[in-house]
Structures are given as C-alpha cells and as structure tokens.
Amino acid sequence: MDTAQLITFLSPTAPRRLRVIENILVGKRTVSTLYWGMRYHQLSWLGYEKRLTRNVMDQTALELKNKGLVTVEETNAQLTELGAIEQQRLLNKHYQPKYLNLRLIVDVEALWQRLLLATQVVSEQAYQNKHYYPLQVSWQVKQFVKRWFHQFYSDDLRKAFQDFWQTFLSQLPNDQALLMSRLLVGHQRPGETLVQVAHDFELTESEVRVMITDLICQLAKVIAHTETASLRSLLAGLSRSLISTSAQQTLNSFMAGKSLEVISHQRQLKLSTVREHLLEAAIMLPPEQFDFQRILPAQLVTQMLARLAKTPLDQWQFTQVADLSVEFWQFRLLEILRSKQTDDKY
C-alpha cells in the first residue's frame, strides 16, 4: 500500500470508509465489508494485501491528507479537488489492472508458484541438468510439481513451455513482456526480484506488484484455455469458489426452496448466520444466480422504493423504511439488488 494506490481507491464525490478499503485488501469477508467493497468497485482486490496493517493504512491516509489530496473525517476519506486531479494523473500514467477478478475464482498465487517452479524444472531439463537448487516453495506446491513432472517429463516439455511463453509474451506490450520474462527462474538464471525490476523500469514496487498480479491473472486465463495438457494441468485444484463453502451450502438449500428456518434448523446455524450467508451470495454472485424475489416480494419492493427512489443509493437509511414490516437484512438485500441493476458508480 502506498499513497498512489490508496488514491485510486478513493472518490472525489463521496467519502469512502478507510476501514472497508483496508478490510477488503486484508481479505475479510464480512457482509458489510463485501457490500461496501462492491459499492466501491473494489471486490476484485479482496485479499490482495493480506499483511496490510492498520498502522500502514493510517499512515498512508495521513500522508495524503498532509499533501492536501484528501480530507479525512473520522475514518472516512474523500478526494479534494487537487486529489481528483492527482487521481486522474495516476490513472493515466500508471498501469491499470484489467483481470484482477480472476483472483476471486483462481488461486493465482499458487498458480504462479507452480508455473515458476515448473518453468525452472523444464529449463534445467533442457540443459540435461539434474543437480540444481530448486525454487523454495510450499511443501504442497513442491509435491504437486514433483508429481506433475513425473507425469509429463517424457513429453516435449521444452517445446511446450517455450511455445507457451513465446505466445503469451508476444501478445503483451514489449515492456510488460520483458518485465515478466525477467522474473523467470531457470538454468543459470536465478531470476530477478520484484524490487530489482521495479528499479530498472523506474516503477514503484506497488505498481510492479499490481502489474505482475494482473499478468498472472492473464496467465491463468490463457492456461485455462490451452490445449497443451502439461500446462493446463498446472491449474488443477486451484479454482476457488466466489463464496465460502458454508455459504454455498446455505444457498443450495435456499435455491432448492427450503425456508430460512428449516435451513437454520437442519444446518444448526443461527438464523442471522443463514441470512449473512444469503447476503454474501447475493453480493458475490451474478444476480440471476440468486432468487431475490423470494425474500423481496414485489409489493414490499414497491413500498420501499416509493420512500427511497429520490435518495441516491449510498445515502439510503434503514430509518426511511423501518416502519414498514421489513427487516434490516431485507433492506440490505434491496440495496444489493439496486446496486446490481443500476451499477451507479459514484
């Protein structure tokens, strides 16, 4: 996290909650975090910086404030006019990721470890070298690549990998291709570190990190569609569910027509937990995969919207509808539905 990155998460038109931005980056999946993360169009960054600390977050915000780029009230920050100009400048100048959404459905960190180690193994094989110091990866990744190599070593891996990297890198702008290739590890090539490439390309570390993560997401996409079995199998077991396993089970029961009370009883969960599961699913999944109407009957929606229609979504207050026979979680669900229908970026 640095000031340039935080600026891109903020808005000139409305204050944003620093705690939400922080919790998204750290990867907290509470309904409130996910809801506001969706509103800030920040969900694809969920868990991007798991080791981010409160201290770093606050220091970064303070730095922006001292430069006159944001105003901070309590823990809500909004870009000043100067901040908006700086944001625009950074958006034009800095690399903007396009594929980060893939992070939510693929464990791209593990994929990168596997691919990096597999590339090293194939490179050493191409030089018929069996005595080398392998990349230090987690035990699981190491075991996976061992089995993978055992399965495919008699294929022409050298050609498969060279063709793969050749094809992938040639569709990238030259500087991105060079940057990525310099990270690779192989025979008599220890590979360069992120700090080293950042230095050579005159980029900040956080910029390079975003660029690399986005490139790895693109790699995941390409690997998913490749015909080459040795490469495609590197993705095995790395798909992630958009929602937690427990929430998925609740959703399945719900979509099968069971009432919330029945689900609560059968799964031995509190009713509030069942509701949270459904809200998580409603936020994370495409709207057609969630039955909004069962929880929000048309008549109730009409009643609520009559009160809320003139208020911008992010200023809706539960008090506006509290006297109707409606519960807060239904109100939140309407917010989610509305957000998905209009996608009004503010």
Partner: protein, 490 residues
C-alpha cells in the same frame, strides 16, 4: 566395524573428494568405533559430511534433530541437489496424511530431519522405535545448553528421548561452544563420556577490525567507502530489517555495486532469487539480518561488515565465519557508534520474557497462537510441570546470562589488546602468540593497509548494471529453454 580405507572409498565414490577436512575423519573414526561423539567444528568445516558419509557407508537410517524448519528444509534440498533422494524433513508444515506417509515408509529414507517437538510426539517416537536407527545426530547441540545464546527448552527432552530410542549411537554437532557449554551438552544428553572432536574456532585468514564513529553519518560514509573499495563479494549485517532495506538502497545508489537486501521479511521467491544471484556472482553485496547464512556455502566472500553490534560473540563469530572459506585473506569489520549497545541490549532483552509476561502467560489455559515465541516458550514449561516461580528464576538467570554475554561482546570491541586472543580466550582455546597470523587485528595494527592485505578491489570501473542479462524477452526465453541447443557438461 568400518575401516578407514572404507571411509576413504566412500568419500571418493560419493563425494568425489580424496581428502577429509580437519576433524571429519576423527569424528567418523570415533563413530565407527561405536563412540558417541561431540564434534565442535567451525561453520563451513563440513559437519554435514560426517553424518552423510556415515549414512552412506553403513547403509542405515540417520535421524537428525535440528532446531529450525527452514534449516531442515534447506538441508533436505542440499541433499537432493547432491543426488540423495532418500531425505525428508518431518515438520509441522506437513499435513497429517503427509506425515503419516513418511512415518509408514521410514525404511525408504536414509536421512530424516525432525525438530525435538516433533520427535517427542508419540506417533513419531513409536514409529522410530520400530526401525533400526544407525545414527542419531543432534545438530546445533548448543541449543540444549541454558548457558548458550540459542537455548531451546525442547532440546532438554532429548536425553530422555534418546533412551526411548534404545540409546542409539549419537553425534552432537555445534559450531561454537565454550568449555562450559560443551560440558553442559554432554551432561544434558546423559553422555558424559562422549568423545570430543574439537577444531580451533579461529580463522587466521580473517583480519579482525573494529572502527568507532561519532555520528551515524560518519558511519554511513565509511560503509559506503568500504563497500566501494573493498574486494567483493561481501555481506553487511544489520539488527533490523528496515535498516537492511534502507542501506541496500543507499549502497545501490552510491556505489555502483549490485546490492540486495535479505531478511526474514521477504517472501520465499525473493529470498531464493537473492540467494542464488549471490551464489552465482550476480550480486556484489548483501545487506542482511541474521536470517542470512543458512545454506549459503559461498567460499569467496571477502568481507563481513557489522553495522550493529551483535548480542554475543557466538553470533558474531558465526556470522564473520562466512568470510574467506576459500582460505584467502578476508576481513571482518565491526562499525560501532556509541549508543549502538542500546539497540543490541533492547533486542537481546526482547527475546527473554519479562516477569509480568511470564505471570500473564502462566495464567493462560491453552497454547498460544503460532508465532508468539515467548508465549510458546512459557507454555512449554507449563506443560512440563514447572512452577511459575521456577520459570521466573530460570528467566531471571537467563537475563543475567544474556547481559554477561553482551558485556563480553562489548569487551571485544573495546579491548585495546589483541582481539583474536580475546575471542580465543572466550572460547577457551588460547594459542601461543607465535601462532597468531601476521595480519591479525586492529588492536595490533590500527592503521591496517587494506591494499597490502590484497583486499582492495582492483577494477574500479566495475559498473556492471543490474540488467547484465539478455536485453530482450526473446533472448531470455532462448536461454531458459536452450533453444540454441547447447548442452552443459554438468
């Protein structure tokens, strides 16, 4: 019994060497004669070869107890790289089925690494009781001694565990041990009669230098000057990750050297890359914390500079021992600024739990989360039925010991007399004045001429840029996948 001739044959066949290094044959001869052995050999002397060769010669399982997971993994990798596939580390990072698999296939392994905690688990112990154990190795054996700087309470269990394993032949190894610690190791492992193989810890080809500065700016300027002029490669040690990072940037900016930081805060990919770049001479200088060094077997390191004062002479000696393994002239320089001792003392204190912390953790009913070392330390004692009062006394003593050890460290940098003799005295290995090297230390030669020592870099124009590799991604791919069709004679 295995003959000396057989040992030499195995050395030649397995390792491609025709000569043992000092201490190796003595230790092996003692072991093959069935004598439990304590080997005190300096870092880089080839301790691991002793048990590797023993395992290869006797074709039996060697069980190595080691204090750190990262160290174990590194040792397994090193064995793998040398072509020994039958090596594994049983660690807490493995899942239950993975551990189980290893335990059920113990006979498939020749070298098994475990931590003392892991070894004290019933399942592990009983699996090991059912196989024939050729050799038990207690690596970093000084960890058993409360007198040493790296005391690990789990090591105290080893004496008992050894009996439970039917008293196998045992090799205890350590790099640095005072007489006091040596006696303590043997006593705690209940092996008072173990044979000692002790090599001089002195490294005659390392010139010992201490330089004092009034301000941090002076210190930084001198560091820049040293790094610019000294023959490379070299290592600069720091007590803090932050300072290591900052100085790596500073040196890269001011010296034209290829510099990188290395510490435990880096991700494994970066650590691997920095380590390998250094090994392959693609880096000139590493700015490191004490995390650097494990598994680094680079023999041409010309200088080790300490920017902060280490907490004891054991640590200092271990770290400067990375210089000059090729036997050529090298230098160890300690940069000191009055006030530095506060940093060291703070860090040293921070590792020993305070009275109120001990009291707090003693009230807890469950083990603490992983990573909180102090909490886990105290949990260990609680679990092993110590009273809070005993633990308080224990740590009180320990704080005093740390203080004494640190005073000895400060004594090294302050002594107006020979620094080498000071260290030798500390490790109870005093040698005669005529055995000291001609170029010894800054007490004897305050104005040492680095050029005369041959430590000044001869090509001032080393301005190799960071990206000396291929300039295009196409060239990188060609090299990676040997598209030119070269085969290396490896």
């Amino acid at each position: 019994m295995i003959s000396t001739e057989q040992l030499y044959q195995t050395l030649q066949k397995r390792f491609g060497f025709s000569h043992f290094r000092a201490g190796q044959l003595e230790a092996l001869t003692a072991l093959t004669a069935g004598q439990n052995t304590l080997a005190v050999l300096p870092t880089g002397a080839g301790k691991t070869l002793i048990y590797e060769l023993y395992g290869a010669a006797t074709q039996q399982l060697v069980l190595i107890v080691s204090p750190l997971i990262s160290l174990m993994q590194d040792q397994v990798t090193t064995l793998n790289v040398k072509g020994e596939k039958r090596a594994a580390a049983l660690t807490s990072l493995m899942t239950y089925p993975e551990k189980n698999w290893v335990l059920q296939h113990l006979t498939a392994y020749r070298f098994l690494f475990v931590s003392p905690e892991m070894l004290s688990q019933d399942a592990v112990l009983s699996a090991l009781q059912n196989v024939s154990l050729g050799l038990l190795v207690v690596d970093e054996a000084h960890c058993i001694s409360t007198w040493g700087p790296d005391f690990r309470p789990e090591y105290l269990l080893l004496g008992q565990i050894r009996h439970q394993l039917n008293d196998p032949l045992t090799l205890m190894t350590t790099a640095t041990a005072t007489q006091h610690v040596k006696t303590d190791i043997k006593q705690k492992l209940q092996l008072p009669d173990a044979t000692e193989v002790v090599l001089p810890i002195d490294r005659q080809n390392i010139f010992l230098d201490v330089a004092q500065f009034e301000t941090q700016t002076d210190k930084d300027d001198r560091l820049i000057e040293l790094v610019t002029t000294l023959k490379k490669p070299g290592v600069v040690y720091f007590s803090s990750k932050k300072k290591a990072n900052e100085t790596a940037e500073l040196l890269a900016l001011k010296t034209h050297c290829r510099v990188a930081a290395y510490h435990a805060g880096l991700d494994p990919e970066t650590r691997f890359k920095v380590q390998q770049q250094f090994m392959q001479d693609q880096l000139d200088v590493i700015c490191a914390t004490s995390a650097f060094g494990m598994g680094i077997d680079k023999n041409n390191v010309r200088f080790v500079i300490h920017y902060h004062v280490p907490s004891d002479l054991e640590a200092y000696w271990q770290e400067i021992g990375r210089a000059g393994r090729d036997g050529k002239q090298s230098i160890a320089i300690l940069l000191y600024q009055p006030g530095d001792e506060q940093i060291a003392q703070f860090l040293s204190d921070a590792t020993v739990p305070q009275e109120n912390e001990i009291h707090y953790y003693f009230q807890q009913m469950a083990p603490q989360i992983a990573g909180d070392e102090k909490a886990n330390l105290i949990w260990f004692y609680k679990q092993h039925h110590y009273q809070e009062r005993q633990v308080q006394e224990l740590f009180e003593r320990r704080r005093e010991q740390r203080m004494v050890a640190f005073r000895k460290m400060m004594g090294y940098l302050r002594t107006p007399t020979c620094k080498r003799q000071y260290v030798q005295h500390y490790f109870d290995q005093v040698s005669q004045p005529d055995e000291l090297p001609a170029d010894c230390c800054s007490s004897d030669q305050p104005d040492i001429d680095l050029t005369a020592l041959g430590l000044i870099s001869t090509n001032d124009s080393v301005t190799v840029s960071q990206n000396e590799g291929p300039a295009s991604w196409q060239a990188i791919l060609t090299q990676l996948f040997n598209a030119d069709g070269k085969t290396d004679a490896v």
